[in-house]
């Protein structure tokens, strides 16, 4: 066992994900945090530490957003940490929560993730332009969608993948989202719909992309002793991994995310997983774009390089397949409030392993699940392995 104490998730909460929500960021954080506490059957006074995961201040438009959101996250007069690794935040935040409890310093930790992207006008995407190097990249007119397009193109080229196969992911996830009460963009679409949708930055088309959203999600982490008192059904955090690559993103071959593999290996080693495709029952890789699910499945070592499209075509990644992937509907179906989206995936695995996912439940009594998030300038991977 790594760390001094074993750590379990005992409660989770998610708000609706929508393009625009009326609540302020603080109110969103409160809703999610309160829900997670109620689900765990615990009160705020039982919480000894709080971790907040939230991505760029530039979306909400409040500098030092972590501090701003603190009281909504229940951190009043508590030890508090805000973490931020771009899109990787949603899985990284529970990792940071894990440190708090596994180190033996705290018995309980409330992990909250929030994003309110709608404050940024004319479009939240504009705030993303500042991720690029101001001297070498911004004068070219860089747009966030372009870096995904450049990566997608390279991935397709390297393995000779057709858009039809990639579009299948968007179709699957949006359909899975129909069973998710919080979903923003659940829909029954076809591959043709994706291929006919407006070209944004070729090869990325509108239905390949997840939207910007407002939303929050939270989980309650506790040590083994507390878990015994609070629930009969704890979900253990058995593996954590994280890794970053350099911002010299133009120096890498973008067809494969090395940093996701390193993070995954770290998490699998901790969890004692030697054969990921066989030992993992359900997966929630980060899917802001449809090709990213495939890219990340390979980085998570759930299949060989270039093999993910084939598995999708064969139905392996459907809910009733051998490796259900994104049963929640993912970001493509639910929406993408950056940090909250990654945390939502952790919540989904939590509910799946407990058999509480309702209509989205994957059959076969899943016991081991993995959630992964990805961020920054295509450089950050965070991976968490959960087990019942």
């Amino acid at each position: 066992m790594f760390g001094k104490k074993r750590v379990a998730i005992v409660g989770a909460g998610v708000t609706l994900f929508r393009r625009n929500l009326k609540e302020t960021g603080k109110e969103l954080a409160y809703h999610a945090a309160k829900m997670a506490l109620e689900q765990a059957g615990m009160e705020l006074r039982d919480i000894q530490s709080v971790v907040m995961g939230t991505a760029p201040d530039a979306f909400d438009g409040v500098h030092m957003k972590g501090e701003y959101l603190a009281d909504g996250a229940g951190a009043y007069h508590k030890p508090y940490t805000r973490v931020f690794v771009g899109g990787g935040t949603g899985v990284f935040a529970p990792l940071a929560g894990w440190w708090h409890v596994a180190s033996g310093q705290f018995d309980t930790c409330l992990v909250v993730c929030e994003e309110k992207m709608s404050s940024c006008h004319p479009h939240p995407q504009y705030a993303f332009t500042t991720i690029f190097d101001p001297i070498l990249e911004r004068p070219i007119g860089m747009n966030l969608i372009w870096i995904f397009a450049l990566e997608m193109n390279r991935y397709m080229h390297k393995h000779n993948i057709k858009k039809e196969d990639i579009a299948l992911v968007s179709v699957k996830n949006k359909r899975n989202a129909l069973d998710n009460p919080i979903a923003q963009l659940a829909a029954n679409i076809t591959v043709e719909d994706v291929l006919n949708s407006e070209i944004m930055a070729w090869p990325v088309q509108r239905l390949d992309v997840s939207p910007t959203s407002d939303g929050a999600a939270a989980t309650v982490l506790v040590s083994e002793d507390v878990a015994k008192e609070v629930t009969d059904n704890p979900v253990w955090i058995d593996g954590v991994g994280w890794c970053i690559d350099s911002t010299h993103w133009t120096d890498r071959d973008l067809y494969y995310p090395d940093y996701v593999e390193y993070a995954a290996r770290m998490a699998y080693k901790m969890a004692g997983i030697k054969n990921p495709p066989k030992e993992i029952d359900v997966a929630e890789p980060y899917d802001p774009f449809d090709y990213k699910e495939l890219h990340h499945m390979e980085g998570l070592l759930l299949c060989k390089k270039g093999e993910a499209p084939k598995l999708t075509r064969e139905g392996v990644t459907q809910r009733d397949g051998d490796l259900p992937t994104c049963p929640s509907g993912g970001l493509l179906g639910c929406g993408n409030p950056i940090a909250a989206a990654g945390m939502m995936k952790v919540c989904e695995i939590f509910w799946q392993l407990r058999g509480e996912a309702g209509k989205r439940q994957v059959p076969g009594d899943p016991r081991t699940g993995v959630a992964q998030a990805w961020g920054d300038l295509m450089q950050y991977g965070s991976v968490i392995v959960l087990r019942r």
Binding site: K22, T24, Y30, L37, L44, A58, G61, G74, C120, P134
Partner: protein
Amino acid sequence: MSLEKITNPFNARHWIGHMEADYRYTLGIAGERFFKEIKENARIMGAKCPVCNAIFVPPRLYCEKCFAKLEEWVDVGKRGYIYTYTIATIDIDGKKLEKPQIYALIKFEGAHGGLIHKIGETDKVQMGMKVEAVFKPPNERKASINDIAYFKPAE
């Protein structure tokens, strides 16, 4: 490679730019109700926690200590007292103001928190001084903190 000290960034080769975005901050569930009351009824409201009985001004959706939802709203009146103040002589860009402006944190009796606002109709203030809100005429109110023009000394 040299490691000389430079204190003015414009002396090194640099690139000038800006980080532009327009922001629209929703007032939120609690905020909308608070500012609607100010705009339509010239009323300053607070919210009460059912667990610890604390009244918060401005009102919020939840009590940060008890984590309970705040459903009961109360009118805290238009009068408060100066908890602390400052006298500003320069504006946000660093230019000298024509006339110094007093800003104060105004608390309301029996309530936590308070409002930061201007003090008007006087040049002299002291800690604890009683003040009263002066609202703009109804047609000038926009559901903003500036619907209150300033706080003036009260008897």
